[in-house]
Point group: C2
Chain length 321, copies 2
């Protein structure tokens, strides 16, 4: 019997049952590793690995055919040398994180627009203050850089909250998605930034997205704009962002991702003005619906794999997505 | 020429122009008092007062026919003795605050569900923590107590965010509003609370709503429920709420209103577990669209008043709403 290693920390008894049932239908048995790690002495038993095991743990899986990562962002699994052989297929769990990360984006955007960090400071000191100027998602011009599952889940919600315009910017041309008021390509980004009040970034970490929000592009954003990043820290020129916040060109930013992570205690990001930092939690697996969706996506692709079809969430390591 | 006093702190030149234009059409001139106060020596000149002047300032307005309060909640203007004569009409600005307060409710609800107070504490100490259980608005059962402008603006948004059920509870029976999955009366509240994961309260301060969320009703909420109050602090038995939070029956609460306001430095609310306090800011007038809407509502009712029609936002002081 062919074998699957399911190595992740979030599986409930219901998840295990669902994975085992689908595996049996496809001719596999499943071993679970609830600490999320693939033990080196057993790694060679598995044709399929699903979960969050470390990049360095895959090398020992000499008979591995497919690694299904339970994350959406798989940039740390791009290095070809971590695999036992070049034929190992890689897939991600894009589609599991849209709801939770969209809710995170709404929360931090409202916290910035409604001056919550300042009000919270007043409350911590048991004070009372009622008069800081606020803004609203309603009526705002929003640009979403990265229009995958996360960006699109947020776009739908931003429009429901009354945003004036929700523009999507993506790598390549694509037919208009009804979630967006207009769709642009990376090449058109410079023309979209000057009319952007809130820039939301949900991009994978690839060579193409590295520092895509450069110093020059930060300057193209209007005075008083906001930046929210939930994709990868590498997408922003962090030095330039800190300057734009400390100098007042930007009204605020919320970073759930940054370089490096975890952030060292002496890093200047901690002290940057109007910056709301969160420790890469926007997509964490503690939200039940995210976990349920992650398992469902794996089971769907397991059926594809077993019947010789293309994996739906296949990642091409030569392209980085 | 008959005269209007417009006494509030938020008027822009555009607001003044709009008020003056409508006033002229109705046969009035306007004096503006940008500090929000009606000077006693001039109060008798005005037939109409619009704004946020203090209850004690109205008595001197011997010729007052109509006071249009720029707030939505007018409980502090209910006492008959503050008026120069019983014939003074009172109206409020219900309708101006729905968007801003709905955004506040979404923000604080997500902050509670996503454990932001705890993550923010970690970030303040420059730490890194990724694993607190989170919940989502998506899939949650929400009950909204008070289905006016504010409750309904939130209901529409909660459904767009994927809430499983959004129930409205109001004073009297009313035909179903499409913003809600179901509509109940105050008399049915006890049957709705046990299936409520998130209780949102947006009620005016009236004798009927005083302590409507009593100790007994807090106990009817399921273990792990959340309470958000943006109406009036008097609607909650605050002692019982603190006990339910400190004892762990409730998972969290967000209060923008409380008793008393401002909260004294030694009040036990400051130290209550899983309580997110804000200093009555959810509807403050610093949000442009709120101010614009407030002025538009006054101008609409000014036309009604001048042509002898009923005021659209008339408040019956004998009923309290």
């Amino acid at each position: 019997m062919k074998k699957i290693a399911a190595a992740d920390v979030f599986f409930t008894p219901e998840h295990r049952e669902q994975i085992e049932k689908t595996a049996a239908e496809c001719g596999y048995t499943v071993d679970f590793y609830p600490d999320g790690h693939l033990p080196p002495e057993r790694a060679a038993e598995y044709e399929i690995v699903y979960g969050c095991c470390l990049p360095g743990e895959l090398k020992a899986a000499a008979n591995l055919k497919w690694f299904c990562c339970s994350f959406a962002g798989v940039d740390i699994y791009m290095d070809e040398s971590i695999y036992p052989h070049p034929g190992v297929l890689l897939s991600n769990s894009s589609g599991a994180y849209g709801i939770t990360i969209a809710e995170h984006i709404i929360m931090v955007t409202l916290m910035l627009l409604r001056r919550m960090p300042e009000f919270e400071k007043v409350v911590r000191e048991r004070g009372w203050l009622r008069t800081l100027p606020m803004r609203s998602i309603c009526g705002s011009s929003i640009t979403i850089l990265g229009t995958g599952d996360i960006g699109t889940n947020f776009a739908v919600r931003a429009r429901a909250l009354g945003a004036k315009a929700v523009r999507g910017v993506r790598r390549t041309q694509k037919a208009g998605d009804p979630a967006y008021d207009a769709m642009y390509t990376f090449a058109e980004l410079d023309s979209v930034l000057p009319k952007t009040e809130i820039l939301v970034m949900a991009l994978p970490g690839t060579p193409e997205t590295h520092h895509i929000l450069s110093r020059e592009r930060i300057a193209l954003l209007p005075e008083g704009a906001y930046v929210v990043n939930v994709g990868r820290g590498s997408a922003i020129d962090q030095e330039a962002l800190m300057e734009a916040l400390n100098g007042g060109h930007l009204a605020g930013a919320a970073l759930d991702v940054m370089v490096p992570e975890p952030l060292p205690k002496d890093h200047p990001l901690w002290d940057t003005k109007n910056l709301l930092l969160t420790p890469h939690i926007s997509g964490n697996m503690s939200l039940g619906i995210t976990c349920d969706r992650d398992v469902a996506l794996f089971c769907e692709d397991l059926k594809n794999f077993a019947s010789g079809k293309k994996l739906k969430r296949f990642v091409d390591r030569s392209l980085g997505y």
